[in-house]
Amino acid sequence: MNWKRKDLLGLEELSRQEIEFILDTAKSFKEVSTRPVKKVPALRGKTIVNLFFEPSTRTKTSFELAAKRLSADVLNFEVSTSSVSKGETIVDTARNIEAMKVDCFIVRHSVSGAPLIISNAVKSAVINAGDGCHEHPTQALLDLFTVREVFGKISGLKIAIIGDIFHSRVARSNIWGFTKLGAKVTVCGPPTLMPRGIEKIGVSVCYSIKEAVSKADIVYLLRLQKERQQENFFPSQAEYRNYFGFDTKKFDLTKKKFVIMHPGPMNRGLEISTDAAEKENSLILQQVTNGIAVRMAVLYLTVRQVH
């Protein structure tokens, strides 16, 4: 397969072959991080800009390390100290940075579609690092990579994605990714946080965590995004925990073979109990490790396409 895209905006527009190509490429990049010198010269001389309009530690750090391990230079654009606070539009911001001859933008924004708007305005590569409630493609790619590493395959597996589906870009990207690669996806959460008509994109809906978990090979717990709950989608956090929180009292982790995943940062004691996060079924730190390899692969493939 030949990779042709300079942007990665979402998994919805990618084919199964393209997703598998990224995962295959990432496999060889994983080895680089185990070397004494954790660096290859593949993107030497390239400049990559972290353009984050929303706070993020993990994703930003992960992209920065990925870029540095490919020998690229990284510019971290802090929105609080930038001209955005003076009223500049995102397109102008991106064009001004591009005028300083950069090669790639990694964009996070609270508005769905912001990376697309930027990609239409610049010649550099644009990678979506999470936009509104739309997509977070590299998170889903690292989840797919981790599942493939553990199970040796994705096709035929059953994954239950549990939590605030409505606001979750992680859920959306994972739904596209896992269904395209042949897994069976069930989404589970409070009815108020379930997007209407979501069955139409090929998932089953379930409102009981017990039922969702009982059939699953992978239990994927979403972070309850407290910052997006101003509209009272559920009565209280305690009630949410009682009905949709994952804990070892509800589920005997020694009995059934399933793995637990979480995109981080975890709200311990809310969507996941502390002891469940520490169990050997938990792939949470493995996900973080694989994030570097997957992002190296994405940067390597897209930045190559910039003329």
């Binding site: 496999k27 070397r35 010269p41 593949a42 190559r304």
Partner: protein, 176 residues
Amino acid sequence: MENRILSANEIKKILNKLADQIIREMGSNIAVIGIKRRGAILAERIKKILDKKTKRNIECGSIDITLYRDDFSAIGPGPVVSGSELMFEIDDKKIVLVDDVLYTGRTIRAAMDQIIDYGRPKMIKLFVLVDRTNCRELPIQPDYAGIKMIVGKKQIVEVRLKEIDKKEEVVVTDIK
């Protein structure tokens, strides 16, 4: 037009002869590293010969130099990155670096850069099955060469190994 330069039997003889020379000249503490893909296969074969002759288990690994290429900006179909397998400490080792054909020398430059990222070997010696002596672009010469020949720029040397190509031979053909 296809011109056969080496037969399966001749390849075998060359590997045996050069393995003797390696043992004589390099002594102990040897490790073999092949450049993917055909260099890695030749490295594996040399390792087996050295194992037999020295009654030791010689370390052997392979590297993929894609990420170290110097023609990154040349836009084209991206080569698939296949990964490197170097599972041993290379510090103070005497490395035999193996490739099938030595042409411009750029692959070897990339391979040496990569090896040095893994540690500090005592020395690196270069082993190639075919040395195209007239096309070098960098000051790199082989220490062990199966056959040295002058081949025009319009021709290619194809090393075919049974593990990948089902056949075992070295041929010179015109670029199509």
